[in-house]
Symmetry: C2
Subunit: 471 residues, 2 copies
Amino acid sequence: MGQRARFVVALPFLVLAVTTVLAQPPHTDGAHGGGTNGSQWIHQYREPAARLIGEAMGSTFAWQRLSVLTDTIGNRLSGTPALERAIQWAAEEMKRDGLENVHTERVMVPKWVRGSESAEMVEPARHPMVMLGLGDSVATPADGIQADVLTLHNFEELDSKASQVRGKIVLFNVPFTTYGETVRFRSGGPSRAARYGAVAMLIRSVGQEGLRTPHTGALQYAPDAPKIPAAAITTEDADRIQRLADRGSRIVVRLKMEAHFEPDAESANVVGEIRGREKPEEIVVVSGHLDSWDVGAGATDDGGGCVVTWEALRLMKKLNLRPRRTVRVVLWTNEENGGRGGLAYRDQHRAELARHVMMLESDGGVFRPLGFGFTGNETGRQTVRVIATLLTGIAADQINAGGGGADIGPSVTEGHIPAMSLDVDGSKYFLIHHTPADTIDKIDPVEMAKCAAALAVMAYVVADLPQGLGQ
Amino acid sequence: MGQRARFVVALPFLVLAVTTVLAQPPHTDGAHGGGTNGSQWIHQYREPAARLIGEAMGSTFAWQRLSVLTDTIGNRLSGTPALERAIQWAAEEMKRDGLENVHTERVMVPKWVRGSESAEMVEPARHPMVMLGLGDSVATPADGIQADVLTLHNFEELDSKASQVRGKIVLFNVPFTTYGETVRFRSGGPSRAARYGAVAMLIRSVGQEGLRTPHTGALQYAPDAPKIPAAAITTEDADRIQRLADRGSRIVVRLKMEAHFEPDAESANVVGEIRGREKPEEIVVVSGHLDSWDVGAGATDDGGGCVVTWEALRLMKKLNLRPRRTVRVVLWTNEENGGRGGLAYRDQHRAELARHVMMLESDGGVFRPLGFGFTGNETGRQTVRVIATLLTGIAADQINAGGGGADIGPSVTEGHIPAMSLDVDGSKYFLIHHTPADTIDKIDPVEMAKCAAALAVMAYVVADLPQGLGQ
């Protein structure tokens, strides 16, 4: 924090204000201390911001790059050859873009393998079910698990019906409200049910109602509970089971899963930079995660986040805009089932965490951008609010509470670093999240270009600010 | 037609008009000949129509019945035990409803079996594809067909690139516009491509863009072309192949299908009636098809059509409304891949086709009803327009051109019978048509009740009309 405090002084701000904003009326904002009282300093950034936006919006480069990644390489689960190909491809492409200090940083990642899997209703009649095993689940025996289904709606009901659970397949049929509210059943449900003797767990997919669309995602086994296999079924199949249960039918399901772990595999975070012209040792990180689930093409989650944050640097390079500080793009490995990439960065970069001015992660899709989430102090918030005014033309000027991300989390926490995320129109996100339908056709090239534009402007100005963001 | 002409006389119309509509102002409509000059006769039907609508809208009986069919029996491809169970269940339930002359009429149907199937992109990289074999397709060899993909957009392009087709898998990547416009490639594409030496055919699914959703449906092999296996792929996979092709990539796909025919199986149309109180030998048919594809639950296509047309009779029975003529519900077998049910009805009922006053089929879903399609002469059209005014309260009062249906078609054609269909809001239909997502949760119980109400009123009044519909 000491390093950064040097920038929160009035002098550079005043010099810049005087030299670059002579035509502007005097500022009327009250003084809030630090470098963000008044906002004339922003005017110097109008011209580079306009260039970055124009360059981003002048082509569909970002979408085309994502299309190459998702069409040719496809989905990229940790430990797969596809993720390794994506890592090599990204590093080569970054070099081709002219980014600096391009390299990969080795990370050992878990290798979970789905194998063949199926679920079938056996009673009251035989119906195939559409399912996806949950990430990190164990397998069933080779001939499957066949058992009665007990349909539950929350953990309280599980506790109150504890005596009925033994030997059953527990279905948590919890309608999607928010991700935070419903993902608890995916993460914690298997161990909660297993403690009462359940032999397997099913969940209603954590997502909006789709078209017989199952949503995978990681579970988390508790250390003190038996590990039972777990899978997501579609809302349609969950509704059917519920109706049959409500009519008093006995429901029997057979679940077969080959899921298992193989030895940890070598993987990497991919890093590229635009080195700062004055303070290259100070760093602004923008990032997405390159790994994905093993279904769909990993376009929205999170190939798009990788490409648009990487675009911030490509656009600066293309326009020869080199900010005071270093802008670093990191494409994380293993966000989906382990978070090893984010942990490795924290450990490998511990010595320079204090010189990280801001870390941003884009992992909510690259739909129509609304602005940014921000977590940090009030001085920093005021500063990014002012920067965001540069984005009113593309309607991406909101600054909302709650910036952050799973991969930047460990570093942000340890380094007390201001954290941001790209905020977008999320109305379609949980239709396709962790599903076979996460493909690039769901992404509009123009909206994606806007995301890249917004990120480029935010990253450039934060990295160039005479003052810091405040920590 | 001679039989029906007897009812197109003025006397009964005038008597009824005088006795039941004394309070109404004199009609001002011009005389159009036959029984539809003026429309005062309709007023006698306001009270029974209101009772039918009230009874239909007073519960979710129709939706619950469809739910039992689709949850417990599920999908019902011709020749399967599931279809046989559905036939027995429907006949038993019709008897329980108190319908008259309930019976099944034997029909031998083709038995096409999908077996296991898959498609995988092999070059430029290995990606599983989401597919459904087309109904009536032949199999690939056991180890599949692996070949280069030639992407085409219409039959003209096929003809112009004839020399490139031999040994290839042809993909018809035709974006969905209307069903009629795009289903041609599903039906006729395999033989068109096979004549030029294609080894298999893929089509972009005939349907709206979904969530990696494949749409099956029948193909029709030409007698003079080699039979090649054919399957539908998702719009997402078709788009990916197109992008790769546009970038100049060589695309290789491996297709594996076990599809085959087994010997014809015994099946049946299910028939129930409300016998006419004056002219029981004259018949109004309302109908849907009980068979479905072997994916999803056959809810919209066409379990819903079966239940709402059957409801017309159940509601009359419940309210003790017995029209002059017989109302007959027919639940057809084998609409999807053979049409044997409709052909058998024509043959088995040839002697009484001339006494069919009208035939209606509901096979477009049971979404929000708009009204009816009608095919017949102008007198009949005027009459059903007047009847439809009874449905303004539920906004189902449109009479559009083009009533008919695949199953009623043979009888309608041979007997020159006025034909109708239920017209509904079709905006969701081709999202789920022939897909695993054709499940009851897509159907709103209240809209479905409105469909039943509209059908009950139309069927009752047409069957009770002193005059006929005109043929």
